[in-house]
Symmetry: C2
Subunit: 133 residues, 2 copies
């Protein structure tokens, strides 16, 4: 279904073409499928955002998971990490154009979730009730 030889040039630096195994759609989607990625991305699309700001606004996330998710998003070229070597240090994350292309889709998804979350909660209770008894 897919080849592994590409020569796209939007990334700086030389990349060994042999190392590139084109991700499947599944792999790509599972990146933003994590528990936290969408929340982080939505914040970072509004503009540069700092580590602690994310820690506060993405509710329930641990320092560890924030770091891990940020690294993965950066790795996929969805976030840029900028370090200002001041004291105290300051790091900002911002969504890339690649991530911004997701915005419409993502907000569509969030909108759908908002419209249906109550009905889904009802369905769950109904389902659990029916199977439990």
């Amino acid at each position: 279904m897919s080849q592994g030889n590409i020569a796209v040039t939007d990334q700086a630096g030389a990349v060994d073409p042999e190392k590139i195994e084109a991700c499947t759609v599944l792999e790509v989607i599972s990146r933003i499928s994590g528990k936290w990625a969408i929340g982080i991305l939505l914040q970072a699309m509004r503009g540069p955002v700092r580590f602690t700001a994310l820690e506060r606004s993405v509710e329930g996330i641990s320092r560890r998971m924030l770091t891990l998710t940020l690294r993965n998003l950066e790795r996929d070229g969805l976030l840029v990490r900028t370090v200002y070597p001041t004291i105290p240090p300051r790091v900002e994350y911002e969504a890339t154009p690649r991530a911004r292309e997701l915005y419409e889709t993502l907000s569509g998804l969030v909108g759908w979730a908002e419209r249906h979350r109550e009905a889904i909660a009802v369905s769950r209770v109904a389902y659990d009730g029916n199977t439990a008894c």
Copy 2:
């Protein structure tokens, strides 16, 4: 998990309001965020589809994960499960209107993934290469 099979599709009945804790958007999204849910949903949106057909078309999925994901989607009212008590048995899954409202968004997501998967693969290799050396 508790089981309650042999039931033909039923989604009615009274629900104890106290049991409903409205899901957060995060919880709702994480349901379709699983590794397999989107693939299954997209199939089931095309019309009723059988268990084995899904097993074949959702590449790489195990029997177990197919069952689990189907149950969860059914639980959230995104799929209806219909059992025809024939011999051999026959079970069909179809997307509900609630799930169908997701179609646009979902295909947007898949489209984005298809457009960017190669570039993302490049980014990953570049990132790994830079950090490794």
